[in-house]
């Protein structure tokens, strides 16, 4: 707890210090090049959605960067443009680390080029200081979707274990984490994302615990899994039948399943349902439109447009009441997988500390 606060305070202090330097540097640069170093537009003073829409309409467009395929976001974008005519959405799929770096550099230069940014998992902590302060409640964002003040929770990405139904008979599918350690999966049968993020839940669920997690990781490492650099690659190995079982993301499983791929969620739980947040960057070019889009995506209408591509919010922990309407929840509940989501900013620091230890336990640490 204290560690996190210290990190954040330190970050804020250095941020202030660097802002002073940044301003000085900017002044020199502006003087040098004599350019019109235009100031970003001020934060809108709108206090409710109607005022916000008016301001947003004057801005005319909103630029949104997130690490999701455009096709998945298209229904939500169309719904937004239909509800708020006069504001066009320009969407760009950006890799998460690129996104946070670009925003960082753009803010340093005082030229932010987008209005809605995304943070999730590892990019949450670095994004904290980049978000503009917004009273989301004023824009009708439900309180349980507002995170750390300025972030808005819009979708979750539950991590799961998935198996290839052609390669693994139902009788031998692992029923729990320990089932994964069966010698049956020895020698490249398990495809495992090597950065350790699939282990998140061990740092979350008190019943599991990080020590037990590291022990588990060490035992898993002894099975010589087929490692991949990220979960997407692990997913392709499972769905193409290269490896029978491995780490996956539920939306990838559901997408490929819908296309007829022989892949299913394994009943290995509990797991972490990673939350993704939207925020409006400080200094964005269309601050009102950015707020409006974010608020819309968090609203039930926005969620209804997102849920079709398996991107939606889910309850913070296991709750199967919406299993019939939300296919992500449905799949988790059908497989009997319990989940936990992040509820506190401190957890992200715990994860950041835990992952390198997992990597070491697995033997996949590069540095």
């Amino acid at each position: 707890m204290r560690a996190v606060r210290r990190t954040r305070e330190e970050a804020r202090r250095t941020a202030t210090a660097s802002r002073v330097r940044r301003l000085a540097a900017m002044a020199i640069l502006c003087a040098l090049v004599g350019a019109a170093c235009s100031k970003p537009p001020p934060a809108p003073d709108a206090r409710n959605l109607a005022e916000l829409y008016r301001a947003a309409k004057a801005e005319g467009q909103v630029i949104w960067f997130a690490p999701k395929p455009e096709a998945q976001m298209r229904p939500a974008i169309q719904a937004f443009e239909k509800k708020y005519p006069g504001i066009s959405v320009k969407y760009t799929n950006k890799k998460a680390p690129d996104l946070v770096t670009q925003l960082n550099v753009e803010q340093a230069a005082g030229r932010v080029s987008f209005d809605v940014s995304n943070a999730g998992g590892l990019t949450v902590l670095p994004s904290l200081d980049m978000a503009a302060k917004v009273d989301w409640a004023g824009f009708r964002v439900p309180g349980d979707q507002i995170f750390d003040g300025n972030f808005v929770y819009v979708w979750a990405v539950p991590k799961v274990w998935a198996y290839n139904t052609d390669a693994v008979p139902a009788s031998v599918v692992p029923r729990n984490w320990n089932g994964l350690l069966s010698p049956r999966w020895n020698g490249g049968k398990l495809t495992v994302e090597s950065r350790g993020s699939f282990m998140t839940v061990w740092a979350q669920d008190r019943a599991l615990g990080t020590d037990a997690g590291l022990d588990f990781a060490a035992r898993l490492g002894r099975l010589h899994p087929h490692y991949t650099d990220n979960t997407t690659q692990a997913h392709t190995n499972i769905s193409s039948g290269q490896t029978p079982i491995g780490t996956d993301l539920i939306n990838l499983v559901l997408e490929d399943r819908a296309k007829g791929a022989p892949i299913a969620v394994a009943p290995v739980g509990p797991t972490n349902a990673n939350k993704a947040y939207l925020f409006v960057p400080e200094g964005s070019p269309h601050p009102a439109a950015g707020r409006l889009l974010t608020a819309f995506l968090a609203s039930p209408e926005g969620q209804a447009a997102l849920v079709g591509s398996y991107n939606s919010i889910i309850p913070n922990d296991t709750d199967c009441s919406q299993a019939a309407t939300n296919r992500v929840i449905g799949a988790l509940c059908d497989a009997g997988v319990r989940w936990f989501s992040e509820t506190d900013i401190r957890q992200y620091q715990q994860f950041a500390d835990f992952f390198p230890q997992v990597e070491q336990a697995l033997g996949t640490d590069v540095n």
Binding site: A36, T92, N93, Y227, T228, S239, A261, N367
Partner: protein
């Protein structure tokens, strides 16, 4: 800029007897200075940025947000417990890749350019086809085709020879990366072989030396500059290339240099550690300095490589005789394994609903749905136009600057050579670091390119100029200085000589370089991705959109097939324009 001035004065000197230099000479001097300054700017900025960042402990921040300098990044690198393992793996991987690519491309260049191998006119361009497919997509195609579990190629080899091949191994990585490097290398080597005066080989043959001896003692030594330049380029590419080690090396935890760079860019802290990544970049730069020194030593007496004489030389090919058909079988086998199978896998994937290896059982599931999906994408037309503009402009700009730089290195005195060598240093800057440097620069400079396709053009040009100038320089090295002297003696002005003698002779190399840059710019991913915004998206960015977070390889493959068609089309077009004939 001093270097620019010196290049210029060395390149077109004013006639000594004339009191007032001609207006045209003054203009030319001005143009030379401008190009020199532009190149120095393109090259020095990212280099400076690299060195600056490497001295900053920027684990959670941007390099310029941190006061003071430190060697911490370097000490961390060298105190890593894996440093020896990674160094050894990298050495094996890079050496192996270069050897595989060199052996294959020297073989192909020799066979296609100097022998009467049947079908060479058709086979030669086809080896270049895979150039525009991004490495990530190609690596996945390889995995699908040759993975030990259900890859048809691996299964076939196991059935035929009983050997089980594992693509997830150092040899597997070397083989795939080597094959991946062949098109670029072939493109560099082919002119070297094509222009080698046949008389040198004939003189050895009539002196009684057999094929092996004369190839070893005459042909290969004379093509040495071309081969070492190509090897140098590939060595750096192999060190920097990430997709293949990531996809083929990670499963068995085979880490190489680029794994370290990638780990620095995606650390657990979430924010890319550019300080550490830059420190790796600086190590690459140091390594390339060593290579430059070796290369300079090898080609110091450049007269030794002037193998394109002033006389009309006939290119009557070396007769393969009874080896004709056995050799052709081997070449066809190579084309099958290295080109047809991955491309076929790519096409297959583009027709499937979800990623799966080629098999007869899934034939019924094939459809053009993915093509329908990509063509229905409203961004596609815009992306294709962007891609074409970026690739065409980058290729033209890069070939032009590369030619200028190569000329400056050959005839521009010390300053020209310095600029030329300097440019090679940028070559070693990892592409993401280069992208961030460009991103940073144009955010601050009042040049309105940020967020447009031009920033991508600038970044890609910076990235490809070093390679392009190497490619052209090797071919200039082959030209006999006498050719130019004759032109001068016959009274032509320097500019005229350049236009009438040097340029036509360098034209094939420039054309090939253009083609190479064009194809590579089509498929370049990291920079295009980093600098992308809603208005400057290219086809690869759309492609990544499909695989980045959703693993939609079938649709991505459909786009890759589109890129492949674009690059095959350009190879065909350049070929039709007859660049092979007049070499």
């Amino acid at each position: 800029m001093q270097s620019g001035t010196r290049v210029a004065t060395a390149a077109p000197p004013s006639p000594p007897d004339a009191d007032r230099p001609h207006r045209r000479d003054r203009v030319r001097t001005g143009v030379n200075i401008a190009i020199g300054v532009l190149l120095a700017y393109l090259v020095l900025f990212p280099l400076g940025m690299l060195i600056y960042s490497s001295l900053k402990d920027s684990e959670l921040k941007l390099p310029f947000q941190i006061p003071g300098f430190t060697l911490g990044n370097f000490t961390k690198i060298f105190s890593s417990p894996r440093v020896l393992e990674v160094a050894l793996n990298s050495l094996i991987f890079v050496t192996g890749t270069v050897v595989v690519a060199l052996v294959i491309s020297v073989g192909l260049a020799y066979l296609f350019e100097r022998t009467d191998l049947p079908g060479r006119r058709f086979l030669a361009p086809s080896t270049l086809a895979p150039m525009a497919v991004p490495a990530t997509v190609m690596a996945v195609a390889w995995v699908l085709a040759a993975n030990p579990a259900n890859g048809p190629l691996a299964i076939l080899i196991r059935r035929v020879s009983g050997l089980s091949v594992d693509i997830y191994s150092l040899p597997g990585m070397i083989l795939v990366a080597g094959i991946f490097g062949v098109p670029s290398m072939y493109l560099m080597l082919a002119p070297t072989f094509a222009r080698l005066n046949l008389e040198f080989e004939e003189a050895a043959a009539t002196s009684g030396a057999g094929w092996l001896t004369r190839t070893r003692k005459v042909v290969l030594p004379l093509t040495l500059p071309g081969m070492s330049a190509a090897a140098m380029l590939l060595a750096v590419i192999a060190l920097e290339e990430f997709a293949i080690p990531s996809i083929l090396g990670t499963p068995d935890q085979i880490f190489v240099f680029s794994s370290l760079v990638q780990a620095a860019l995606q650390p657990p802290s979430g924010l890319s550690d550019y300080g550490r990544a830059s420190a790796y970049g600086v190590l690459l730069v140091l390594l390339s300095l060593v290579m430059i020194a070796v290369y300079r030593r090898q080609t110091r007496e450049s007269h030794r490589f002037r193998v394109v004489g002033g006389k009309g030389y006939r290119s009557s090919p070396v007769r393969l005789g009874r080896w004709r058909y056995p050799v052709m079988t081997i070449v066809l086998l190579y084309v099958l394994v290295a080109i047809v199978i991955p491309i076929l896998t790519l096409v297959w994937t583009s027709l499937t609903p979800y990623l799966q290896p080629i098999s007869l059982d899934s034939l019924s599931g094939l459809s053009f749905a993915n093509y329908g999906a990509i063509f229905a994408n409203p961004s596609l037309t815009h992306a294709i136009v962007n891609t074409l503009v970026i690739s065409l402009v980058t290729a033209t700009l890069t070939a032009g600057l590369g030619l200028w730089l190569a000329l400056a290195s050959a005839r521009g005195g010390r300053a020209g050579r310095a600029l030329f060598d300097l440019s090679f240093l940028v070559f070693a800057v990892p592409s993401v670091v280069l992208g961030v440097a460009v991103l940073f620069l144009y955010l601050f400079l009042p040049i309105p390119v940020y967020g447009t396709i031009w920033i991508i053009v600038i970044a890609l040009t910076t990235r490809y100029v070093p390679r392009a100038s190497r490619m052209i320089q090797t071919s200039l090295l082959q030209l006999d200085g006498g050719l130019e002297e004759v032109g001068r003696v016959s009274g032509a002005r320097r500019g005229t000589v350049l236009r009438r003698v040097v340029l036509p002779l360098a034209a094939p190399a420039v054309t090939r370089t253009w083609l190479w840059v064009f194809a590579n710019a089509l498929g370049e991913l990291p920079i295009a991705l980093l600098l992308s915004s809603s208005d400057n998206r290219t086809v690869v960015v759309l492609l990544w959109d499909m695989i980045g977070e959703s693993a939609n390889y079938p649709e991505a493959s459909a786009l890759a097939v589109l890129l492949l068609a674009l690059s095959a089309g350009s190879v065909w077009w350049v070929n039709r324009r007859g660049f092979q004939q007049h070499m």
